[in-house]
Subunit: 384 residues, 2 copies
């Protein structure tokens, strides 16, 4: 297996892009990544996307986007894995380069969600959970997260304020990120007292819907230096699944897929969680962000909320989490999210993250899940 490097990243601001199509959004992100990489001749395209069929009435995405990018007959494939479609595309592309199949590969994610009503979008998002036994009954992802948050609060004696502090931190980070959908700070009071969605979850606990696209260029590590002096290697990658039906799980507060994916990715990278300098984790809801910090091994189970209160996750903390602002404030254009996370980590490890730069970041991690932790994909990155 060959070592793989990222040599280019491209993003568009997560936003309501009224005037852009799914195609033009993706093309812009891809061109940014190509330019950032010094325009190598890419050989294949992987696209992560959750539900262009439902959101945009467009399937067969990969050949469409390959054509828009002028890639001619070069192979292209779309990967779908709900909310982790972006990371899934990277996971596939990585294997192509690691195995020697291709050298220069463009991997991106895109989702255009805002041309849909919020209630339709909420339904579409719920189709990543079990349609026959969960979504069909009207149980949304906010509903599942609300039950888990309630249980967490009861088990560990935590109040809603602790979750609101996580949200405030995410907005603090996003206020320094030009790609963020909501680049402004919010008060604890606002985070705490926004409209209720599914008690104890309020609006500010939820990642927003948004339009976005992000892209990476990857290649064999030994060829990277021809294109960049800021090479970042992908040194660990793993994907694991959990029970699809939420109610069949033995432990509602531990996300097994995250635990297993991260342990294997750490082993592959030959590191421990303590070695990670910066992480982008899947905080689709504030409770999901807290659980991720625990299940990735950064703190012990039940102590994620304390890590927030003690400032460990802030940009200059011991384990800075989501310098981009996370799904919560950078935004969560679903199929693109995993690529936004990877792109942010690459910028951080290159020292190119501007005002939101984490000091001396050498090892970074991205963590993208689908459903309520139905599957998890973890990538570990290392500055060359």
């Amino acid at each position: 297996m060959r070592k793989v490097a990222v040599i280019g990243v491209g993003m568009v601001k997560v936003d309501h892009h009224w005037k852009e199509s799914l195609r033009s959004l993706f093309t812009k992100a891809a061109i940014n990544a190509l330019e950032d990489a010094g325009n190598p001749d890419v050989e294949a395209l992987y696209v992560g996307n959750m539900s262009a069929g439902q959101f945009n009435k467009q399937e067969n995405l990969a050949p469409m986007l390959a054509d828009a990018l002028g890639l001619g007959s070069k192979p292209s494939l779309r990967v779908e894995e709900g909310c982790s479609s972006g990371a899934a595309a990277l996971y596939m592309a990585l294997k192509d380069v690691a195995s020697g199949m291709h050298d220069f590969v463009l991997v991106g994610g895109v989702e255009k969600m805002m041309d849909t009503t919020t209630s339709d979008a909420t339904f579409i998002i719920s189709t990543v959970t079990d349609q026959e036994y969960e979504a069909f009954t009207g149980l949304s992802l906010a509903g599942i997260n609300a039950m888990v948050m309630r249980l967490y609060m009861k088990k560990f004696g935590v109040k809603r304020e602790s979750f609101a502090k996580f949200v405030v931190q995410m907005h603090e980070n996003a206020s320094k990120n030009p790609y963020a959908q909501f680049p402004f700070k919010i008060s604890l009071d606002k985070a705490l007292n926004s409209a209720p969605v599914a008690e104890p979850i309020h609006l500010m606990d939820c990642a927003p819907i948004g339009d976005g696209a992000a892209a990476l260029i990857i290649c064999p590590a030994e060829k990277a230096k021809e294109f960049t002096s800021d090479q970042v290697d992908i040194v660990g990658a793993w994907k694991a699944n959990d029970t699809f039906l939420f109610h069949m799980r033995k432990d509602f507060l531990s996300l097994k897929a995250t635990i297993e994916a991260s342990r294997n990715a750490y082993d592959m990278a030959n590191i421990t969680p303590e070695d990670v300098d910066v992480a982008e984790v899947h905080d689709s809801f504030s409770i999901a962000g807290i659980l991720a910090i625990e299940d990735l091994g950064f703190v012990r189970k039940g102590e994620g909320w304390m890590a927030v209160e003690e400032g460990l996750i802030s940009l200059d903390g011991e384990i800075p989490i989501n310098p981009s602002g996370g799904l919560k404030a950078r935004g969560h254009p679903i199929g693109a999210t995993g690529i936004y996370q990877a792109a942010e980590i690459v910028l951080q490890l290159r020292g190119d993250a501007g005002k939101r730069q984490v000091p001396d970041a050498r090892i970074g991690l991205s963590h993208n899940t689908s459903g309520f932790g139905t599957s998890a994909i973890v990538h570990v990155f290392k500055a060359k």
Copy 2:
């Protein structure tokens, strides 16, 4: 790169499966394949599916199906590429095994289309073409194929009877296939005089909608003999794209992606089209079947219809096409079609195809396209 073999195939009859869910259909096909292979311990799952989001309001398919199959935390991914989603899943899975990433991989396809009205299904299928410039205007795939058929008839002086003869042959084959949706013969008169859909295309020129699932077990060729004495190797595989927008093509009668994918697959397999003993080609419409025969290099451009008239494509002809009955009569449960094709070729090369067995088949080919030849994936198989 390691050589890869198919050691198990499983299919369910293409049908209107009122009482089966998408999950149960897929699970049945997968269990059939696992049993056929002698129940190896599979390490990963790939699923081809076009549009469970639109048809079944279910995304995040791969973890759902992995869970249903008891695969625990093992990695699973869904691949979407319109009508060629099945072959795309095989194309990805093949790389995993060829590269040494995994040994035993389950790759399947599934689509449950019949719980939708025909007009809704027609619209959903049209979302594999360009939504902004084609589908949005109301141009269905039947419409595109009708224009091409008209052009073909004019350019090569062909009558509708020639296409009807192709249809009759497909039903003749399907009448011997227990997995076929329409396992009965039809008369030339019926093929010719069915209800018009988009002139000159009539109902019998169109592949039907249907529910179906099929699966394969693949592994490194050197490990195959522990599990089967009927090993079939995949000796060539290629994917190519064409211009996404139909009207931007220079030649409406040649499918560039098919030409390029097959040439590269032949080169990889070190064969010529003449060496192919049996092929399953993408005949979503009778005209598409005729073009495929030409673009795969079995006959010259403009002579596909003659190959049908002269009996070359029949089971005992020079180049037997679609012994299964093809998309036309075996059925076209979209995301599963590419896997049905591959499974049929494997059965043929094993000599297990029963009444529809092609004599002495040693080398077989499957050909799956998306949109109107927007992309094409060709696999070449060889009996060990």
